[in-house]
Symmetry: C2
Subunit: 337 residues, 2 copies
């Protein structure tokens, strides 16, 4: 309540009549101190309002207990959700989250340098990918790096994703079973591995069912672009009777255009399926069928990889399956629920 300047461990030591290192030990979890010492120091510390200076500790241990997290736009509800889970989980593990935004590779590179400067204990990359040089720099400096839902050329880096290929494929199966014939796809940003994997799975699934893609437009993981893509896709005589959208955020735009602009009935005239299963998807206003990305499990795996890096260089690719959540935006084939 009445401390003026910073109070250091030396102040506490003097007050308690012990050595400065004794104070340090009391505040170090795995140290050996007598109960009496513990008592004396604690009370002196309390009185002075002492708290260890984490910065000084970091300098010497080389551990900051800070994890750098890089995310892209936060408008897509999936990422705030992930951020929240990450933050809670890291806090629970005694780590802290230094947050950065980056929306381009050059942003990412710049930001990565700044993160490294903070001597972070690890980095989670959940935005645009980065070039291999920086990734290698991390490796050389011994900073664990986990890619969250991104991939990178060099396959040896730890990465956690949902099973995007399987998810895309599952949507194709749904459309096939529902008897859809004119099937459209609205793609995300083509530099993203999630986009590529989802589309590949979807196309393979269609092919396996003897179907092929009827229309394709690019939405770049952006709501406005997806809306424009939808207008394009539906500006023809024969319109699609089912559309798979590469993520929920775009799918909301698609639904907005379909329902409110083109006055089409969903799923009566056209089925729509998204990807992520963000909380919004289950709101009545959208009622969007979507492939779930199990954010909690993905976050758990990410943190596990970061905090105890895999001994074997083999198992550094974690792929987590996600269910298809059936809702009202897509025709549901008989026997599917």
């Amino acid at each position: 309540m009445n401390e003026k300047r910073k109070v250091t461990s030396l102040d506490v030591a003097r007050k308690a009549g012990v050595s400065q290192s004794a104070v340090s030990r009391v505040f170090t979890p795995g140290a050996s101190v007598s109960a009496k010492m513990q008592e004396k120091v604690q009370s002196a510390a309390m009185e002075l309002g002492y708290r260890p200076n984490v910065i000084a500790r970091s300098l010497i241990t080389g551990q900051s207990r800070i994890i750098g997290v890089v995310v892209g736009y936060l408008e897509n509800q999936f990422y705030p959700g992930v951020l929240e889970l990450l933050s809670n989980s890291l806090q629970a593990h005694g780590y802290h989250l230094l947050m950065f935004m980056a929306n381009s590779v050059s942003d990412t590179n710049k930001v990565m340098q700044e993160i490294i400067d903070y001597q972070v204990d690890g980095i989670i990359l959940a935005s645009v990918s980065l070039n291999s040089d920086l990734a290698n720099q991390c490796r050389n400096m011994g900073i664990p790096l986990v890619l969250f839902n991104r991939s990178i050329d060099d396959e040896s880096f730890p990465i956690v994703t949902s099973d995007n290929y399987a998810g895309g494929r599952r949507v194709a199966e749904l459309f096939a079973a529902a008897g859809h014939q004119r099937i459209g796809y609205i793609a995300g940003w083509e530099g993203a591995s999630t986009q590529r994997d989802r589309e590949r799975g979807f196309l393979d699934g269609l092919e396996a069912a003897g179907l092929s893609l009827f229309a394709r437009e690019l939405g770049d993981f952006n709501k406005e672009d997806a809306e424009e893509a939808t207008r394009q896709m539906f500006s023809v005589k024969q319109v699609p009777d089912a559309v798979f959208v590469a993520n929920d955020h775009m799918a909301f735009g698609v639904l907005d255009v379909l329902r409110h602009e083109l006055k089409l009935n969903v799923p009566g005239q056209v089925s729509v399926v998204g990807y992520d299963d963000v909380p919004l998807a289950s709101w009545s206003a959208f009622d969007l069928t979507s492939v779930r990305q199990p954010a909690q499990r993905m976050v758990d795996s990410t943190i596990a990889m970061l905090l105890d890096p895999p001994t074997t260089r083999k198992n550094n690719r974690i792929v987590i399956p996600g269910d298809l959540m059936l809702r009202g935006s897509a025709k549901i084939p008989k026997g599917w629920n």
Copy 2:
């Protein structure tokens, strides 16, 4: 590409054949170094891949260039938006954002200690409020603290809010002008100053127009609770013909229930107005009339207060006005657009 261990300023100094302090100067913005020295050191540093250790620098300068930010739930889209703006702005100013989640006063208190331990240069509190002791501790330690859309008992702390009272009042004016008679209010968490101010403004506005509140329920700034509150409010014979909801996030729940569960026509049978004007509000699926909180301006003010604290202790309360965004969820009186 080939650095193995940490490279320090001493390594650079040796390589360049200069003193270690010379290296330090070259990497310190306001230092005096000759062009030749600059050259020598820069190239040696480049070759070795040297970057100053920010932690060591912080220890000595007492400045970490880290700002602690505490937020609550990220589900309400307003906060991810604010976080994104904060992050970008801080990055632009050469600061970094240490993020924390806290949903209760006890959380906040715990988290505040951890933030302080990092010797942060400032704290932004955008979640639940905190007790005055901690706020005072910050003051005593000389750590600037800005409350973002929260208030605290002690009025002397810097705080940035939108004009919640005026906003609430404006909504009352809208309802009055539109001729609504049975007016409901769905309240947010009653511990929040935003809730209190919005409601007070709203009630005062109604009174000024000779109206009074017809129904009131508690939604606690939570979508599910707001949905339940709506069911309650509309489970009577005479239902409201207009509802003001204390924030957009709850308003989406209200709209979901009204439109999809109770099959009421909005705004034909009931007008709905929210608060925040999050991006979602303007999506066709909701088309929600809402009082805008000018996030960018609020963030700018917050950062300004943090980085150059007001000299005069008077002007530490910034209240930013926000427009009422007229959309399709509420009847628009003649001459209002």
